[in-house]
């Protein structure tokens, strides 16, 4: 994997229009496509590669439906945290609250705090695009832009957030290498992304996500549409990516949680029941409901 640009040594202010925000940077609102016009926020110099995320008393509603009920949870930096739980337990909703995608649904609301390295992503006046740049997302079904080439798919996020000062070709290559896809596509970067296999498409989406250099990657059942070999490749990739990103993965596959996650959180009926080291959750969970779920006694 290529090395990243040097981390800022001190708090910096992003003042250059159309520049790529530094990692760990959340920006106030800007007009789309124009880049930052005013001072932003940068991570403290001692921050590790990925930034930790802390949820404080997070509630999420769909209209009257209370989908996430007061969850407080910390996602440690440069660790993989899996969220497991039966269908409808609120785990995907919780994930979507972290990068404020939940609020895109009509009638959906969220309260509580989501702190990225100590700063609330729901803070008034914060640019939601900068939140989603800092906290990227990979979805259940690979969703490359169907009319775009492989190259343009990876570059899409960069073009949205500004590309001045960025060697686009170098960044696309680095992202594809990072997603473990480069060797398979380097000779056909102009071909349609939709022409790749399902597993390749998902890795393309991961390349697109890491191209904007986020601090956190959210994954919502990223392998559920993939065959077992493609699944294992993504899992290996997750293990590599965690050296540089904080990863939160929602999965229905408990063995996958066992394989990839450092910590596992179990949710039921919108509540966080238990979180702990993955090996503990799968050998001796504290809560009987966790035991019942992971051992398949209900589902």
């Amino acid at each position: 994997m290529n090395t990243r640009p040097a981390k800022p040594q001190e708090t910096i202010f992003v003042t250059t229009p159309e520049s790529i925000p530094e990692r760990g940077t959340l920006s106030p609102p800007t007009a789309p496509g124009t880049g930052d016009q005013t001072a932003g926020y940068a991570a403290p110099s001692e921050a590790p590669n990925g930034l930790g995320v802390e949820l404080q008393d997070l509630h999420a509603h769909y209209g009257q439906q209370h989908a996430v009920r007061g969850v407080s949870l910390t996602f440690a930096s440069n660790k993989v945290t899996a969220i497991i739980g039966p269908s409808g337990c609120g785990k995907s909703t919780l994930l979507r609250c972290i990068n404020r995608m939940h609020e895109e649904i009509a009638g959906a609301t969220a309260t509580g705090r989501v702190l990225l390295d100590g700063r609330d992503v729901y803070e008034q006046g914060l640019d939601v695009v900068s939140v989603r740049r800092a906290i990227g997302m990979v979805f259940q079904k690979p969703n490359p832009f169907p009319t775009m080439s492989i190259f343009d798919n990876v570059a899409a996020g960069l073009r949205l957030t500004g590309t001045k000062g960025v060697d686009l070709r170098e960044r696309v290559e680095r992202s594809l290498v990072g997603a473990g896809l480069w060797d398979e596509v380097k000779d056909r970067l102009g071909s349609a992304g939709a022409g790749l296999s399902g597993g390749q498409q998902q890795r393309l989406c991961i390349a697109r996500t890491i191209a904007v250099e986020p601090d956190v990657i959210l994954m919502d059942e990223p392998c559920s549409a993939l065959d077992p070999i493609a699944t294992l490749r993504i899992e290996e990739l997750i293990d590599v990516l965690k050296a540089r990103y904080t990863i939160v993965i929602v999965t229905h596959n408990m063995q996958q949680a066992g394989r990839v996650a450092d910590s596992t959180a179990f949710m039921l009926s919108g509540e966080l029941i238990e979180v702990g080291p993955t090996s503990q959750i799968f050998t001796k969970p504290d809560d009987d409901r966790t035991e019942q779920y992971v051992s398949g006694r209900f589902g």
């Binding site: 050998t283 992971v294 589902g299």
Partner: protein, 245 residues
């Protein structure tokens, strides 16, 4: 968020299969009890015929070991058990290994019987203690079985206390054998009985080990009830052995 689904009980077949394997492993303890009874009879009468029954019958216990071992591996490969199920699977694997070892100890004893001679000296101080060990062991093995099948840690306590008595009897037999006198035949017989007592004492340890596995299944933590190299660490004398777990 999708519509909430009503939780349903699942994995019935897996659970039934795990229970069947557990029962097969614990039946191994019944086989050991049977072998021990034959062994005791053989010892009492210096009876080579009963001894040969034990030696020949050990194949059944070995077969049971292989059968349970293979079933457990297959279950792990197919069902990926976790949490209490996983601990149970691990405990069954350990237990069936102890069953196999107990069977072997009965064979070891029975192989000593012809060596001790057809008309050995009768030394009631030794024979009485061997008898007491055998009787205690029989109950200890049955208690270990119930301890496992009922996940009853109170019985683990009973087994551990009984085993302390077995260890005492073993030490006493050793002492008596040392002081048994100058008659060569009697000394030779007593040495053999010392080996017999040692085998019985090991069977007792295996029964305690099985109870330790039950404590692991129930509590999620493994700890030996007593540690030969650190016999007094972590317990006060009145504690149930599994309380430190």
């Amino acid at each position: 968020m999708r519509g909430r689904e009503v939780p349903v009980e699942t994995r019935h077949q897996f659970r039934e299969e795990l229970l069947r394997i557990e029962e097969a492993a614990l039946e191994g303890l019944d086989m050991v009890v049977h072998a021990l009874e034959l062994t005791t009879t053989a010892l009492d009468g210096q009876d080579a015929r009963h001894a040969s029954l034990v030696i020949g019958g050990d194949d059944r216990i070995d077969d049971r070991y292989l059968e349970v071992h293979e079933s457990i591996l297959s279950l792990i490969a197919r069902e990926a058990p976790v949490a209490t199920d996983l601990r149970t699977v691990a405990a069954i694997l350990h237990t069936i290994r102890h069953v196999e070892r107990m069977g072997d100890q009965c064979v070891n004893i029975c192989k000593l019987i012809p060596l001790a001679g057809n008309e050995p000296p009768v030394h009631t101080a030794i024979l009485g203690r061997i008898d007491e060990m055998s009787q205690r062991l029989r109950l200890q093995i049955l208690d270990a079985k119930r301890c496992f099948s009922e996940r009853n840690l109170a019985l683990a306590d009973v087994v551990a206390r009984s085993d302390a008595q077995i260890n005492r009897l073993n030490r006493e037999i050793f002492q008596i054998a040392l002081e048994v006198g100058n008659d060569f035949d009697t000394r030779e017989w007593a040495m053999h009985m010392m080996l017999v007592a040692r085998c019985l004492e090991r069977i007792g340890d295996n029964a305690v080990d099985i109870c330790e596995q039950v404590a692991f299944v129930v509590t999620g933590k493994f700890r030996e009830f007593s540690d030969a190299s650190h016999p007094n660490i972590g317990r006060s004398s009145g504690d149930a052995p599994w309380r430190g777990v």
